[in-house]
Structures are given as C-alpha cells and as structure tokens.
Amino acid sequence: MTASLASSAKEVFNFVFRRNAKLTTGFVIIFVLVLIAVIADLLAPYDVASIGLHGPDLPPSFQNLLGTDTLGRDVFDQLVHAVRQSLIIGFFTGLVGLVVGLSVGIFSGYRGGLVDDSLRSVTDVFLVIPTIPLLVVLSSYVRFLTIPALVLILAVFAWPFPARTFRSQVLSLRKREFINLAKLSGMSDMKIVFREILPNMLPYVGTTFANSVSGAILAEVFLEILGLGPQNTTTLGVMVYWAMWRGAMIRGILWWVLPPMIILVLIFIGLQLINIGLDEVYNPRVRKGGSTPA
C-alpha cells in the first residue's frame, strides 16, 4: 500500500484505456472540447462578440457554419471561444476549490483535535451559506467582473464540500495499519500525507474535481442568465443568455440556442462519465467484475 503518486496515476491511466469504457468516453469528450478550446483562435480568428459583422438571424451555411444570431454574430465563432472561456472558468474554479478543499480536508482530518474542530466549523459555516443569492449580490456589486474575478468568487464556494469529503477519507485512512506502520518507521507527517494518504485518495480527487468543474460552469451560466457574469467575454453562459434574451427558442432560431446547450450537456456528460468511471475503477461495490488496480 505504499504506492507513489506517479505509479498510482499510471495505473489509473492504464486502467482507463484498457478496462473502463465510461471513463474512456468521458475523457475523449473532454479531450475534444479542450482541443477545441486550445485551437479556438485558429478556428475563429475574428472578434467574435462584435455586433453586426454579419446579417442577423442567418441560418447555417458554408459561410456561417452554425448561422448567425440577431445581432449579426457568427454562432460557430462564438461557440469555439465560449468553450474555451467556460472550460477555463470551470477548470480554474475546480482547481482552486480542489487545492483549498484538499489542504483543509487533509490538515483537518490528519491533525484532528482542536485543529479539526476549528476547520470543520469554518467549513460548516461556508456549507450553510446560501450560495446562489450571495453569488448574485457579489457579482452585481463587483465594479467590473472579469473571468479571474469570477473564478475567485466561485472558488470561495467551491472548496467546502471537497474539504468535508477529503476530511472523511483522511479520518478513515489515518487509522489504517499501513499509516501506523509508516509512523512507526519514523516517516514524517508530510511524507505520510503525500506518499501514503494522497495516492489512496486519487479517485476522490478526480471525482471531486469533475464535480467542481461542472458546478462552476453551471454557476457561470446561471449568473450570465441573470446578466451578472463577465459579459465582455463570450462564454457558453453568455451565449445562452443572449439567445434567451432575444427569444431565440420560440422564434425558431434553434441554430443559436442549441449549440451552447449541446456543448454544456456534453461537458456535463463527459465529466459525469469520468466521475462514474473513476468510482467504478476504485469502488469494488459498483464495479462489474475486475479488481482494483492497486
């Protein structure tokens, strides 16, 4: 049970592509979307949000692959840039939430005692804060909301749930024999955390990260629909907002409203498949046959 971080990650990687179709599918979906995000400038080199570059409400054609919206903007161009921005928001919010949540969870669970009581109380306070109204208030009062500012605002509420999850895991792990052995052998606390505890929590880290990314993207869409997100930047939320604001669905301009929604669904499906796949890999109770890779 003294697997290193690297070897554990390698095992997961091998298991993904050899044994678990859901995990593989999830990774493929997310990989394609990330690829689109990375090469967005090549796919759509124009200032995508500019009003009046094309005619309004044009259906899909060779010139405008996904048509145009009522403000004369190319939907395909907007979409590829929106994928990039939404993934950035999701990834960085998830990352900040994960790092903070992981640190708090491990420190709290491993140390125990007064430290645990204090950190658990702080976490509990954050967990009961009514997130959505607070997000609305914060977003409307920030003078100029940029993507980094939004990430920070979302991250404030993205860490407590992971912190509780990781704390529970650490509480369970620290009583296991291999941890006692490590302590008896004179291993430092830091080494125990990084070499013994963290590798055993990798699947939880993966699922928590996937959940955090989904939550952040959904929260961004929600804020944008209220008109409170960073509207200078084209995100999937901004696209949905404009389509809703101009009544695209009921006017039958489906080429405007459906693409961002389909991409959002794909992101969530991709992340959920990763989530379920990781669970199947590491949780024997939900796995059909096979054994843990460790």
């Binding site: 009003i51 403000l71 629909i225 604001w245």
Partner: protein, 561 residues
C-alpha cells in the same frame, strides 16, 4: 454542492408562475405585466425611495392634470384649470368639485395645501420635496376648491415640475396623512386614493386590484373602467413573456424587441401592436469630473467614434433613428430641428467619423502606448468602463460603444449593473460612461428643451459622492447658469426666450455632457381577446406606456369585447 444549488434555483425559476387570485375570473381581469420587479411590494407611499408605482399605485394616485403628449394637450383631472398671476410669481389652481377619496371623504383644497406643505416640511427626504421647498413660499386655500401658490420669484414654467410633468407629486388625503409620519408611512395595506380601484392583495410577484363602484368620475365625468379586476405581475424571461402573450395569458406588455413582437403578432392574431416614440432618448452620459473626460474635446472624440447606425441595429434592431438632440421627436420638439439647423450641423452628434476622433485625440497630445491604447499628455491611459442597466437595448448599446471605442485605441469595456447599483452609481457620478436614458425631472424635455437644459444648472451640482437627482454629472458653467436663470423668467412664447434657449442649447452641444444617441421606441402589445379600447397608432388618445400615471386613461377606455 454548488451544482445542486444552481439546478434547484433553475428549476424554481422555470416552474414559478405568477400568483393569480382564484376569485378573479380571467374574462373580468385585465392582466398587466410590469417591466420591473416589485422590490418593496408593501410600499405605497410614492414619496419614499423604493416605491414602485408600476404596481398600479401611479394609476390610483390621480393627478391634478395630465400632459397628453400625443394630443399635445393638458388633460384636467382632479384640477380643472391653473393660472399664473400677472408677474408669473404665483399660480392659482381650481379643483374639480364632486371628487371623493376611496374612503368616501371629499377631496378639496385642504388636501392640496397639506400635500405641498408636507413636502416643504420634509425636504429633502421626500421625492419632489426639494423643488417644492425651493419654489413655493406660500400655499393656501382660497376656498374649498381653489388653491393659491406663491412662488419665490417669477417662473414661467413652474407648472412643469408639479402640475403637468409626466411624474408629479400626487395629492394625498389630509385626513389620513396628517396622522402619519410621511417619511416612514407605507400607505399600506389600504392606500386611500381617488383612483378607480382598491388594493386587494400585494406580493413581490403580483398585485391585484378590484374596481370601486363608488369611483367619483363615474357620476362627475361619466368615466368608469371596464375591467372589474386588475392584476399586475412582474416581468419574466423574454421567452416566457412571449409564450404568455401568444397564449393570451396576459393583456398588456411593453418591451419586446422587433424580432420578438413580430413572432408574437404572427402567432396570436388577437395581439395589437403599437411601436411608440418614448419621451426619453437613449443617451451616453460622461463622467465630466474624471480626466480626461472633463475635456469637451475628448467627449466629442467619443461621439465621433460611435457608429450610431450600428447602435440602432444593436439596441433596436434598426427600428428607430439616430438623434441630433437628447429630446424625443414629438411634434412639440421637431420645429427646433429646423430652427437650430446650423447649430446642429456644427455640433453633429449623429456623425460617425473615427478618423476625426483620432485626430482630435492626437491634436490634444494623446499618444498610443505599446499596447495600442492612447495615453493622455498627463499619462492617463484611456481605459473606460461603460455601465448600463439591464434593460433591453441598453446593454447592447454599451457593448457596441465599447467596440467602437476599442477600434480607435481605447481600452473600453462594458458592465451591466442591476437597477439599484446602476441608479446609485449614476446618482453618485461613479462611472466613466453610462448608457442610460435622457429624461428631465417630470419628462418636460418632451415638449420644451428648457426642462432638460435646466437640469444641468450648477445649483443642483452636489459634491462628488453625494446622491443627486438633478445635474447628476455635476456640470458647472456660470455662463450657462445665467442663460437658464434668464429663461426661467421669460414666457415660452417671448422672442427673447427663443434666443436665450438657442444660446443655452449651443453651450450644451459644445460641452456635450450627455449625448442623446438614439430616439427611443417602445413596443406595446395588447391582447384584444378579452378587451378592446387600447390606445393605438390610429387612435393615440393617450401615451401607451403602462408604467406611467397616464395608464389611468387606458383603464377608463378599455372595455370587454
């Protein structure tokens, strides 16, 4: 966790329906969708901040007179006439006999005297109180239906501010308000007004009213509303509003864009549409206290950089037209376009010439930095945030302007603020540029430019950071003040008044504190399935905007099909 919260809120938003009282049959109920949410649904005191008259309170708090912009006439209502004294330093108002409050008490001169004195005594807390206190030195009842008002000095247009303006102080019943503190009184749950309906229920989502069979105008004027019940509900997402109107689940709405109302009219043949000229042009406000926007030349550079035709497309899908003046092109205003032709050619806010914008900046010594953004000779990088409220068209304007400014080398961005923080930033002058509307107090700019120009008198310029209603941008110019002071004492038809007005207008155009970029049009959609008699382009008996007090006349004209 975050995802679950967001999904739950989404679900609630989608499933939420306005509350319709069960004892209000659809065929007896006129359903009006308000354009704003009811922030304080239990506040029916129109003099307090936070009051939202769109609940229907404006329609029940009847005015002495109404200005009918489309007919160009003053409609006497609770008052029958008003007359200036020989020196224009006093006004005598005659009141209509037979008017009753909703609790049966007689409406008379004591109520009018009490209302104006109440405002004087509670300035500046109550809305309209500052002007009343400044100008009315004495208010007294000459008899039960005659009120005499002494002004502090001759003022030929005082009636704009408290008698015929589109929003003027409503008269309150003395027998009730004299027992209350007007700075805290909510006037709820049973607001006593002279209007034709009584309040039944109020919530953040919906307000319901029931017709009063003892409405005074039934016998005195032969006027009586056709709908037994009124239901006023808050707005929803555009898609939802379109569906509701297509399915005839609401009767009155205002705010669809061109493509939206075209769809609605196409799918519901009982919908009547009137795209009407709004009295407030869509404007760009500058923070003239923030360098380098304190220089008129820089403001003109911004004006030349803005493509107004693109603005029209962005904000109104091309339905309206660009504007030379910050006034609506009603018949009362269009003669000025001809009279001031030369001036408006010299100061042409319709002109789009980005090269000229760049030339102005460079003549002033601005140079581009390494990032391609202009920097002033004082080292100020041109980085401006354009704020806007969340209303239809405003945010699109902010975006379009920001794109045009970026194109000439300005680091421009835009930010949509909710109504409350937007209003606060506007009143405190806390922004770089602000896309909003150009409305004078009382909307007098709809018939007389004086009303707009007077709002920039330096006597209204409060210190920075304080919340101001007039002259929010803190414009100060002694030459301009002198002209406005002179105009205040001249009759509108005095030849000298034309001359002074033109001089003041020219200073305004030269200094350009606010650009009236576009004429505003508002789409008004009425469902005629249950009701007929709505105002229309063919029969514009009153302005169609249901959030105005004037909607009273629509209520009185509408009858069952």
């Amino acid at each position: 966790m975050l995802a679950h919260s967001v999904l739950a809120v989404f679900a609630l938003a989608i499933l939420a329906e306005p509350v319709v009282a069960q004892n209000m049959p659809r065929e007896d109920t006129l359903i009006v969708r308000a354009g704003r949410k009811f922030g304080a649904p239990e506040l029916y005191n129109p003099y307090l901040a936070g009051h939202r008259g769109e609940t229907g309170n404006w329609w029940m708090a009847e005015n002495l007179f109404y200005m009918n912009l489309y007919q160009g006439e003053i409609e006497p209502w609770l008052g029958t006439s008003f007359e200036y004294g020989p020196n224009h330093d006093s006004i005598t108002i005659k009141l209509r006999e037979g008017v009753k409050w909703s609790d049966g008490e007689e409406f008379n001169a004591d109520d009018v005297v009490f209302t104006y004195n109440m405002l004087k005594e509670n300035a500046p807390t109550l809305r309209w109180s500052v002007w009343i206190k400044e100008w009315m030195t004495e208010v007294r009842a000459e008899d039960s239906h005659t009120v005499f008002i002494q002004l502090k000095e001759p003022h030929t247009r005082a009636h704009y501010s408290f008698l015929i303006g589109l929003w003027v102080p409503p008269i309150v019943p003395e027998h009730i308000w004299s027992q209350e503190d007007p700075t805290t009184f909510k006037n709820w749950p049973d607001p006593v007004w002279t209007g034709p309906y009584k309040l039944v229920d109020t919530s953040a989502e919906a307000v319901s009213w029931e017709r009063r069979d003892d409405y005074w105008a039934k016998d005195v004027m032969g006027e009586f509303p056709g709908a037994k019940f009124l239901l006023v509900t808050g707005p929803g997402p555009a898609e939802k509003m379109m569906i509701e109107q297509i399915e005839s689940r609401m009767d009155v709405w205002s705010g669809f864009t061109k493509s939206q109302y075209e769809t609605v009219v196409k799918r519901n043949d009982t919908i009547d549409l009137w795209v009407a000229l709004d009295p407030c042009t869509r404007a760009l406000w500058f923070n003239i206290q923030r360098p380098p926007l304190d220089q008129a030349e820089v403001r003109w550079a911004v004006s030349y950089a803005i493509n107004k035709n693109k603005l029209n497309f962005a904000a109104f899908e091309g339905v309206t037209r660009t504007s030379k003046l910050p006034y609506p092109y009603y018949g009362t205003i269009t003669p000025y376009l001809e009279d001031w032709k030369e001036m408006l050619e010299k100061y042409n806010t319709e002109e789009y010439d980005p090269d000229r914008a760049v030339a102005i900046l460079e003549d002033l010594g601005f140079e581009k930095g390494r990032d391609g953004i202009y920097v002033s000779p004082d080292g100020i990088r041109l980085s401006w945030v354009i704020i806007s409220p969340p209303w239809s068209g405003h945010r699109e304007m902010a975006q379009s302007i920001s794109e045009d400014l970026k194109a000439i080398g300005v680091d421009a961005s835009w930010k949509v603020l909710e109504p409350a923080p937007h209003g606060e930033a506007w009143r405190r002058n806390d922004y770089d540029m602000n896309v909003a509307w150009a409305c004078a107090e009382g909307l007098g700019q709809a018939w007389d430019p004086y009303a707009w120009l007077e709002g920039f008198h330096s006597k209204y310029a409060l210190p920075e950071g304080e919340s101001a209603d007039q002259n929010r941008i803190r414009y100060q110019n002694p030459e301009y003040d002198a002209l406005l002071d002179e105009l205040t004492g001249l009759l509108p038809d005095d030849p000298r008044a034309d001359e002074v007005l033109a001089q003041a207008q020219e200073i305004y155009m030269r200094d350009l504190p606010v650009i009236g970029t576009l004429q505003t049009v508002t789409s008004n959609t009425y469902d005629t399935l249950h009701w007929k008699g709505f105002p229309s382009e063919e029969d514009p008996y009153i302005t169609p905007f249901h959030w105005w007090p004037h909607f009273l006349f629509t209520l009185l004209n509408v009858e069952p099909q």
